[in-house]
């Protein structure tokens, strides 16, 4: 056993704990803001099944594999699955939530400008998991 003082180790542990506290606090703050769904968000029902996505808007229109939304509005996805676990993901808008059979999970986003983005499945769901893809089409508001 060497003879040495331990204060460098204590300082080091203090720094590590301080860093971890900072990480936790920052993450907590951002998560809190991000999880807060705006009251006027429109609901879109998302159903994942092997191996495609279908969507139902508030007005009852349905789409398969493609989702049309308007820029500048908030949307809340209510995500379900009819068979196995999928994960609904629009990576460009950092939207991700598992589609779990027997549950409804929610996540929201507000697209800000027109464009096309990929929708994909990010949880392993079987044979064609790799190609369970769709398109998000953000359009300028009509009016």
């Amino acid at each position: 056993m060497g003879h040495h003082s331990n204060w460098p180790e204590w300082i080091y542990i203090g720094v590590v704990i301080a860093l971890m506290t900072w990480v936790g606090a920052e993450a907590w703050e951002v998560e809190r803001i991000v999880e807060h769904v705006p009251a006027d968000a429109k609901v879109i029902k998302v159903v994942g099944q092997q191996w495609f996505w279908s969507f139902e808007h508030e007005d009852g229109t349905t789409e398969i594999g493609e989702l049309h939304v308007e820029a500048g509005k908030a949307y809340k996805f209510e995500i379900e699955s009819t068979d196995v676990i999928h994960s609904f993901n629009i990576h460009d808008y950092v939207v991700l939530m598992d589609a779990v059979p027997g549950r409804v999970n929610t996540v929201w986003f507000a697209p800000d400008k027109a464009g096309e983005h990929d929708i994909q499945c990010r949880e392993y769901c079987g044979l064609i998991h790799y190609n369970m893809r769709g398109k998000l089409i953000v359009e300028d508001p009509l009016s």
Binding site: V23, E26, V30, I33, V34, Y93, V95, A110
Partner: protein
Amino acid sequence: MKGMLGLFLLLAVVVIVPVAEYAFAAGDEPGEYVDRRVLIWNLFFRMMTVAFTVGAVVSGTIIWLILRFRESNPKAKPTPYEKEGVW
């Protein structure tokens, strides 16, 4: 000792609970939508800045240790434990 415990409990009630409630209540204001991309990626880049800074310190330390204390370094000298031959 009991007094200290009471003091901490009191502090928790007086300070922490209102702060937590205030924090939870925030974000309820109506108006502009937050942009989750901006928030999340900014958080990511803040953390990467710190991670890479710490990483530079750690890997710099490792590289310096390797160069300075390798036995082929001209300044290398036997450790005190080598004389007894037990470590």
